[in-house]
C-alpha cells in the first residue's frame, strides 16, 4: 500500500516541520504577540493619575485619537493636532522613501556596474555608517544643520546668505536626517536587483535604436522594480516609527507618531492613549506591508 506509507511519511514530515519551528513560534508568541496583547488591553483602560493605568474599561483613549474634548467647556471637536502628527509622519516617511530612491538608485547602479572585485569595496563603504550608533549619527547631522553649524557657516562664508537659515527644528531637518540614516536600506536591495541584471539587454536595446531614456524606462526600471519596492518598504516602515531622528532634529515641537507615543507614556501621562496610538501605527504599517505583498505577488506570480 504505497499511498498509506506516503501518507505516513507526509505526516512525519509535517510533524517534524512543526517541531522544528516550535522555538520560533514560542519566541514569536512571547516576544511579539504577548506584548502586543498587553498594549491592546491597555488601550481599553483608564489613565492613572500620574502614570500607569486604572483597571477600569474605557473607550476614552480611542475616542481621544479622533476627538478632542475641551477641558473647560466640554465641547467636542475633531482632534486636529493628532491628525496633523499622523499626516506629518506619513508625509515625511513617503518623502524619505522618495529621497532615498533618488539618491539610492544611481548609487546602486554605479556599484553594480563596477568590476566585480571593486563592488565589495563600494558595498563595504555603504555599510560603514552602520558601525556608528544612530544617536551619534543624528547628532552629527545636527552639527551640520544648526544655525552656527557647518552648512550655514559655509553658506555665509561664500556670501550666499547673510543670516543663518533655520533648518534645525523643522520638518526639513527631520527629512534630511531620516534620508541620511535610511539610505543604505534602499541601496542594498536595489543593488541586489541590478546586480542580477544582464547588461547585454541594454546593448540590445541600443541596437534596436532605443534612446537612453527608453532603455532606462523600458529595460532597466522593470527589472530593478522588485528591488525598489523592497527598499521602499525597508525605508518606509522604520521611518513611520522613527523616534530618535525627529526627537533630536525636530526639537520637541515637530513630533512624529513615535515621539507622540513616547510623550503619552511620559509627560502626557496617558498610557491608554499611547497604547491606542501604537495600535494605530501598527495598522498603518500592516497596511503598507499588505500593499507590498499584493504588488510583489502580482509582479511575480510564481515567486
Amino acid at each position: 500500500m504505497p499511498s498509506s506509507s506516503e501518507d505516513l511519511a507526509e505526516t512525519a514530515r509535517v510533524r517534524r516541520n512543526w517541531l522544528l519551528s516550535t522555538p520560533a513560534l514560542v519566541l514569536l508568541a512571547l516576544g511579539a504577540a504577548g506584548p502586543l496583547l498587553i498594549v491592546a488591553v491597555y488601550s481599553f483602560l483608564e489613565a492613572g493619575e500620574y502614570s500607569g493605568v486604572e483597571w477600569r474599561f474605557s473607550l476614552d483613549a480611542w475616542f481621544q485619537i479622533l476627538f478632542h474634548r475641551d477641558i473647560f467647556d466640554d465641547t467636542i471637536s475633531l482632534a486636529d493636532a493628532h491628525l496633523t502628527i499622523f499626516w506629518r509622519s506619513v508625509k515625511l516617511s513617503l518623502l524619505t522613501t522618495i529621497a532615498t530612491f533618488i539618491f539610492g538608485f544611481p548609487t546602486a547602479y554605479f556599484i553594480a556596474t563596477r568590476a566585480p572585485k571593486q563592488r565589495a569595496l563600494w558595498l563595504f563603504l555603504i555599510t560603514i555608517p552602520f558601525w556608528t550608533n544612530l544617536l551619534i549619527r543624528t547628532f552629527a547631522i545636527m552639527e551640520v544643520l544648526r544655525n552656527q553649524g557647518i552648512l550655514n557657516t559655509l553658506l555665509m562664508k561664500i556670501g550666499l546668505i547673510t543670516t543663518p537659515i533655520q533648518i534645525l527644528y523643522t520638518d526639513t531637518a527631520v527629512l534630511i536626517g531620516m534620508a541620511y540614516v535610511y539610505l543604505p536600506l534602499m541601496v542594498l536591495p536595489m543593488y541586489a536587483a541590478i546586480d542580477r541584471f544582464d547588461f547585454r539587454l541594454v546593448e540590445a536595446g541600443y541596437d534596436l535604436y532605443a534612446s537612453r531614456w527608453q532603455v532606462l524606462r523600458r529595460v532597466i526600471l522593470p527589472i530593478v522594480k522588485p528591488g525598489a519596492i523592497a527598499g521602499s518598504i525597508l525605508v518606509f516602515v522604520p521611518s513611520l516609527g522613527a523616534y530618535v531622528t525627529p526627537r533630536v532634529l525636530g526639537g520637541g515641537k515637530n513630533m512624529m507618531i513615535g515621539n507622540f507615543i513616547d510623550l503619552q507614556f511620559g509627560q502626557g501621562r496617558n498610557w491608554p492613549l499611547g497604547a491606542a496610538l501604537s495600535m494605530v501605527l501598527l495598522v498603518i504599517v500592516g497596511a503598507a506591508l499588505l500593499a507590498y505583498v499584493r504588488v510583489s505577488t502580482k509582479e511575480n506570480p510564481h515567486g
Binding site: 500620574y50 502614570s51 477641558i71 553649524g149 534645525l168 515641537k253 509627560q267 496617558n270
Partner: protein, 341 residues
C-alpha cells in the same frame, strides 16, 4: 555635547572603580551633578557611583513609579516632593539625626513640602526666568512676553523648556493670576495664551546651556544657573526676571523607598550637607544651595552674578509656589497635555 562628554567621563570613572565594595545609583537632572563631587564621594567611601540623567520631573516620576529602575537617590523639584511622599516612594532616612544636619540654612529646614526635612535635603535652589541673546533682541527682557507674546525679532526663535510646573505658573502670572490657582477663568486664560503663543516658538526642548551658548537658540524660558553658564560661554546672553512673576524653586535629594543601597545613599545625603561639598555642587551647576557656610568655598563670580543676585525691584515678583492643591495640579496636567500635542 558637553553633556555627552560628562557622561563619558562619568562612565570612565565608574569603570576604574569597578572593584569598589558598594554601589550607589543617583537619578538626577542632566548636566547637574559635579563629576568631581562624585569622584570625591567614591574615593572617600569606596563606593561605585552611577549617575543617570532625567530631563523633566514628570519623566523622572513616571520612571520611578514604573518600578525596576534600580535608583537609590532621586532629586525632584520641591513641588513634586509631596507627590512622591503621597505615593509612598520615599524613605525617612533619619535626616535630623545626621551629622551634617546642623549645616542646613534655617530657612530651608521647616519647608511646607517637607516639614522638618524628614524625606529630603536641599540640592540647589534657583529661579526660572528667561534667557535672551541681546544680539537678537535688545528690548526689555524682564517680562514673560519674551515667550508668551514674543517680540517680532524673536518670533520662531524662542525655545520653551518643557517643564510643566514652571511654564504654566509663569503663564498664569502673565495673564494676571496666581500659581496653583483653582480659578477656572484664570486657568482658561493661561491655556488660551499658551496655545496662541506656541506657533511662535521654535522648539520645546532641553539642553539650553549648550544651544544658547553656541547661538543656535536666541531666547528661552530658562533656569538662572544654566543662564549663568551660558553667559560664561557667550557674553551676549542676559537673564531676565519677568516682572509679571517668575518662579523660585528648590531641587531636593531624597532616598527612594526601594533603594538597594540605602546605607550608601544615607552617606551621600549626609555628604552633600557638608559646606565644602555643597559648594562643589554650586560651582558646577551655578545655582545657590541651602547649606550655611558653603559660600566660603564658592568661586567669587557667584557672589556678584546678575543671575544669582536678584535686582531689588524684582525680588517681590519671585514666587515660591510650594505644592499645588490636587485640583489645581489636575488642571495643570490637562493644560499641559493639550499644549504638548
Amino acid at each position: 555635547m558637553k553633556k555627552l562628554l560628562t557622561s563619558v567621563a562619568a562612565l570612565a570613572t565608574v569603570a576604574s572603580m569597578a572593584s569598589a565594595e558598594g554601589e550607589l545609583n543617583i537619578f538626577n537632572w542632566g548636566n547637574y551633578t559635579n563629576p568631581d563631587l562624585i569622584k570625591k564621594f567614591e574615593e572617600t567611601y569606596d563606593v561605585k557611583v552611577t549617575v543617570t540623567d532625567f530631563d523633566s520631573n514628570t519623566t523622572a516620576l513616571t520612571k520611578i513609579e514604573a518600578g525596576g529602575h534600580g535608583f537609590d537617590i532621586v532629586v525632584p523639584t520641591h513641588s513634586y516632593i509631596p507627590i512622591y511622599v503621597e505615593k509612598g516612594l520615599l524613605m525617612k532616612p533619619g535626616i535630623p539625626e545626621m551629622e551634617n544636619y546642623h549645616n542646613l540654612a534655617p530657612q530651608w529646614v521647616d519647608v511646607d513640602w517637607d516639614p522638618k526635612r524628614e524625606y529630603s535635603v536641599p540640592w540647589q535652589w534657583g529661579t526660572t526666568g528667561v534667557a535672551v541673546n541681546t544680539k537678537a533682541y535688545s528690548g526689555d527682557v524682564n517680562t514673560a512676553a519674551i515667550f508668551m507674546d514674543p517680540p517680532a525679532e524673536l518670533v520662531g526663535k524662542v525655545n520653551v523648556v518643557p517643564e510643566m510646573q514652571d511654564v504654566i505658573s509663569m503663564a498664569l502670572m502673565y495673564v494676571g493670576g496666581t500659581p496653583c490657582t483653582t480659578d477656572k477663568t484664570m486657568l482658561k486664560a493661561a491655556r488660551d495664551a499658551l496655545v496662541a503663543a506656541k506657533p511662535k516658538w521654535m522648539s520645546m526642548d532641553y539642553g539650553m546651556t549648550e544651544k544658547m551658548s553656541n547661538g543656535d537658540v536666541m531666547a528661552s524660558v530658562n533656569w538662572n544657573g544654566s543662564t549663568f553658564r551660558i553667559r560664561n560661554n557667550n557674553p551676549d546672553v542676559v537673564y531676565g526676571y519677568p516682572k509679571e512673576g517668575y518662579i523660585v524653586w528648590m531641587d531636593n535629594a531624597a532616598i527612594l523607598n526601594d533603594a538597594k543601597n540605602a546605607d550608601n545613599a544615607k552617606l551621600f545625603i549626609n555628604f552633600i550637607m557638608d559646606p565644602e561639598n555643597a559648594a562643589m555642587i554650586s560651582s558646577f551647576a551655578r545655582y545657590a544651595n541651602g547649606i550655611t557656610g558653603s559660600e566660603a568655598f564658592m568661586p567669587d563670580d557667584m557672589k556678584t552674578a546678575p543671575e544669582i543676585v536678584v535686582p531689588a525691584d524684582l525680588v517681590a515678583a519671585g514666587k515660591f509656589t510650594g505644592a499645588c492643591p490636587k485640583e489645581a495640579q489636575d488642571m495643570y496636567t490637562a493644560i499641559w497635555t493639550e499644549l504638548q500635542k
